[in-house]
């Protein structure tokens, strides 16, 4: 049995009396392209922050590449790459300076850092922007730079929080092919995105979080087959649905988050109408 790349047990995060992430048990095998979905405010970014060591869980445990995150945070951080929600770039550096800094912080030697920096800038089509400060970059350019910084040290696990947001179609295509090549070479990618078409095309496995609770987890085919009603003990109740194989991820997603834990309709649904827009 192989060690999962990401494994959480009863992961919980509370802010005062609000539970942002509630008892989440995630298991992502090495080499998976894993999509982590959920509506706004569901707890996706909080989960990613906890998985990357930026936010301490209130309770529960996190194991990355088989190691406990809290006990081995420095070693694990060397093996992961992150594109966080806010990108966390140093605005007063140029792209080249930033990548060099990140490379040095991850222990790359000077020559490797310089070579990879040059390659990444070229790859991300940022080579012509060398004189510009990051603060003057567009949102899409900053996103590409954040991605470059996340992969410069060749991570085994990559956490991407909305990586395609604001990125042009050409660059998005380039990034997708890069991510797929990383998967082919054994890396694990944990991706959150609201663009369900991208997730459907790239990810082999998907989990859906809603109001802090994990409401579905499995391969796309399993989700299509209706095997998303995860019980509290983790058991799954497969419900065969006619024509399931034709359902898109968007339909599955809406079906899952469109109901609450008890199966009642959610607060807002596509069937609702605004009185003045009809």
């Amino acid at each position: 049995m192989t060690t999962p790349a990401i494994d959480t047990t009863a992961l919980t995060r509370r802010f005062d009396d609000f539970t942002a992430v509630d008892n989440v048990n995630l298991c992502v095998d090495a080499g998976q392209f894993f999509g982590f979905l959920g509506p706004n405010g569901a707890g996706k970014s909080t989960t990613i922050k906890m998985l990357t060591g930026l936010l301490a869980p209130t309770s529960g445990s996190i194991r990355i590449l088989g190691e406990d995150l809290e006990a081995n945070s420095a070693e694990i951080k060397r093996q992961i790459g992150v594109v966080p929600e806010g990108m966390a770039l140093f605005g007063r550096l140029t792209a080249e300076e930033y990548l060099q800094f990140v490379g040095r912080m991850y222990g790359l030697d000077r020559t490797t850092t310089l070579n990879r920096t040059r390659e990444l800038l070229d790859f991300m089509q940022l080579a012509n922007e060398q004189k510009k400060l990051i603060t003057d970059f567009s949102h899409g350019m900053q996103k590409k730079l954040a991605l470059a910084a996340a992969v410069i040290h060749g991570p085994k696990v990559l956490f991407l929080d909305e990586p395609f947001e604001g990125v042009d179609a050409v660059a998005a295509g380039t990034l997708k092919s890069m991510l797929l090549r990383m998967i082919a070479r054994g890396a694990t990618i944990f991706l959150t995105s609201h663009v369900l078409e991208i997730v459907e095309r790239l990810c082999t496995h998907i989990a859906i979080i809603h109001r802090g609770q994990l409401v579905a987890q499995g391969s796309l085919d399993e989700l299509r087959a209706g095997a998303w009603r995860a019980g509290k003990a983790g058991s799954q109740e497969a419900v065969a649905t006619p024509g399931a194989e034709k359902r898109s991820l968007e339909q599955i997603f809406l079906e899952i988050v469109g109901t609450d834990r008890e199966g009642n309709p959610a607060a807002t649904s596509p069937e609702q109408e605004l009185s003045w827009l009809s």
């Binding site: 609000f18 301490a56 040095r104 222990g107 790859f123 090549r181 609702q272 605004l274």
Partner: protein, 583 residues
């Protein structure tokens, strides 16, 4: 498209990262941020030459002032230390060191907001890199050593060691060693206070309490001054201070400053001196340990921020279709019940809601009134003729609120896009913002006026009152007019009630800042020549005759600006939106 190489090696086990590599990388990062901030060329803007000239003038004025701020405490500390040893008052050394520490910490705490606004990267962001806690602790200890308070504090302690060494050369080596440790203790004390304050100030309620405490501290200081001035002659006051220092000597011996002083003075009793030195080292270690506890929590991913308050859970709405009223059934729009247009009323309400939730701004508005009360009761101020005190106090009260008129859109940030996109006249938005500012200014001025009239020991001449009223109208209207123009031409994003300010396009705003200062202080100080002329020519109504027409002209100028606000925003919408949307 280029191919990425080297991916195979990532799965192999990696050698440990040398500490020097990471520490040097962070040092290089700070250096590049500094160099880029200093020398990076920005796109040319209009008025760059004017900005450059103003910049040079600003440096000519500011740098000598900064030099005085550094030289003053350093020379003073060295001289006092020399005097304490050479004139046989060694017990004065502990109070001197305590004074340096208090000043150091006070400046650090007050400078925290400035430092945060000036720094272009947050050291806490280094947590995401593969650092061990030890390295993170070293980095956090080293980063920020070049703050003004640390530089001046360290230089002052060096001056103390030099002063002691000159007075008694045999004390020079222990003085240098002890002062080095004392400086380290102060650095860790600053770090400890800073780290804990960062934790507390992340909460809005604490920020408001902190603002109130700082305001109360300033007010209490003035009350103390008032008590001393009103009860003692200057000579008595000095002896009172010396008595306090002398009587506190035994207590100071139990504080780090006492340990440091004793470690130097007891050099002829090595064991006692070593015990004192060890106590000083223990204090340093204690502060470093408390600082480290806070850092450890941050390192492990502590959440610094407002608690997420989502107690009111959304109730599932019934899945019934909402009844759609037909257009014919729509009620006729109500006739406006307010004298204000709907846009002005809506914007005013929004401004009020923001102000109501901003305790720090409220405290900022109330504090000058407390000072007016104190100044009115102070003998030194009561000696000033009542005809000068009223305009002076009004200038003091108005200077703060008038400063806010120069960036009325700053708190809106990206929200200005709503104004730009909505089918409204921007003039109405400006009117609403100015109305809110004007309400606050008038309220504050009226309260200050009442306080002065009640507490004044002699009646204030009617000519002075009318002249002051005209002057106030002139100053407010002129600042409203110029403030409106600058708010559109050089806006700057800020978060109300938060110390952390967003630094956007500083070079563009340098001219604006200087212009604001010139107009603000120029209009305030205009009173002085008029008052002198009035007194010289014995024409009590001269000021009223001067400021009356000026007030009318300023109001007219403001009306003109308001009329052009729409056109002005259209002309500057790129800068206007760009600067605020950078937030």
């Amino acid at each position: 498209m280029a191919e990425l190489t080297g991916s195979e090696s990532v799965l192999q086990s990696l050698p440990p990262i040398p500490a020097s590599a990471q520490l040097l990388a962070v040092a290089w990062l700070r250096w590049r941020i500094f160099v880029n901030g200093m020398f990076r060329k920005r796109p040319k803007r209009k008025g760059q030459v004017v900005g450059l000239v103003f910049g040079i003038l600003l440096r000519i004025i500011v740098w000598p002032m900064l030099a005085m701020i550094v030289i003053g405490p350093v020379a003073g500390s060295g001289f006092l230390a020399w005097m304490a040893i050479s004139e046989g008052h060694p017990r004065s050394l502990a109070p001197l060191l305590l004074g340096i520490t208090l000043l150091w910490q006070f400046v650090s705490i007050n400078g925290l907001s400035i430092a945060v606004s000036m720094q272009s990267f947050d050291p806490a962001s280094l947590v995401r890199f593969p650092l061990r806690f030890g390295r993170y602790f070293v980095l956090r200890s080293l980063l920020g050593l070049l703050t003004p308070s640390t530089i001046v504090g360290c230089l002052a302690l060096l001056a103390v060691a030099v002063g002691i060494g000159i007075a008694d050369p045999s004390l020079a080596p222990p003085a240098l060693a002890v002062m080095a440790v004392y400086a380290l203790m102060n650095i860790y004390l600053t770090r400890m206070i800073g780290a804990w304050m960062e934790r507390w100030l992340a909460n809005r309620r604490f920020r408001e309490i902190f603002s109130m405490l700082m305001a109360m501290f300033a007010v209490s200081f003035q009350f103390l001054n008032l008590r001393l001035n009103s009860t003692h002659a200057p000579g008595v006051r000095t002896s009172w201070l010396i008595n306090i220092l002398h009587s506190s000597g035994s207590y100071l011996n139990w504080l780090p400053s006492g340990f440091a002083a004793q470690a130097i003075l007891l050099v002829k009793h090595p064991l006692a001196a070593f015990a004192q030195f060890a106590a000083l080292l223990a204090c340093t270690a204690l502060f470093a340990a408390v600082f480290s506890i806070r850092l450890q929590k941050q390192f492990l991913g502590e959440y610094l921020g407002e608690g997420v308050n989502r107690r009111a859970k959304a109730q599932p709405a019934p899945r019934t279709k909402v009844t759609v009223p037909q257009p014919a059934a729509l009620p006729a729009p109500e006739a406006p019940r307010s004298i204000l247009s709907p846009t002005v009323a809506a914007c005013l309400r929004k401004e009020w809601l923001i102000l109501r939730s901003n305790g720090a701004q409220m405290i900022g508005l109330l504090t000058p009134l407390f000072f007016v009360v104190i100044f009115s009761m102070n003998r030194a101020f009561s000696a000033i003729s009542s005809k000068y005190f009223l305009p002076a106090a009004m200038a003091y009260v108005l200077i703060g609120p008038l400063g806010t008129l120069y960036n009325v859109f700053g708190a809106d940030g990206r929200g200005v896009q709503v104004y730009l996109l909505a089918p409204i006249r921007m003039r109405d938005v400006v009117v609403a913002k100015n109305l809110m500012s004007l309400t606050l200014i008038v309220t504050e001025a009226a309260l200050a006026w009442t306080i002065i009239c009640v507490l004044a020991r002699a009646p204030i001449p009617i000519a002075t009152q009318i002249a002051t009223a005209f002057w106030a109208v002139f100053v407010v209207a002129m600042n409203l007019a110029i403030g409106t123009v600058r708010s559109i031409q050089a806006p700057r994003y800020f978060v109300p009630g938060q110390t952390r300010q967003i630094r956007a396009a500083a070079p563009a705003n340098r001219t604006s800042a200087l212009l604001v200062l010139a107009v603000l202080f120029g209009s305030m100080l205009l009173q002085i020549p008029v008052a002198i002329a009035s007194s010289y020519f014995h024409v009590p109504w001269l000021a009223a005759w001067v400021f009356g027409p000026l007030a009318v002209a300023a109001v007219f100028g403001y009306a003109l600006t308001l009329g052009n606000a729409e056109r002005l925003i259209l002309a500057h919408r790129d800068v206007f939106a760009e600067e605020l949307c950078k937030a």
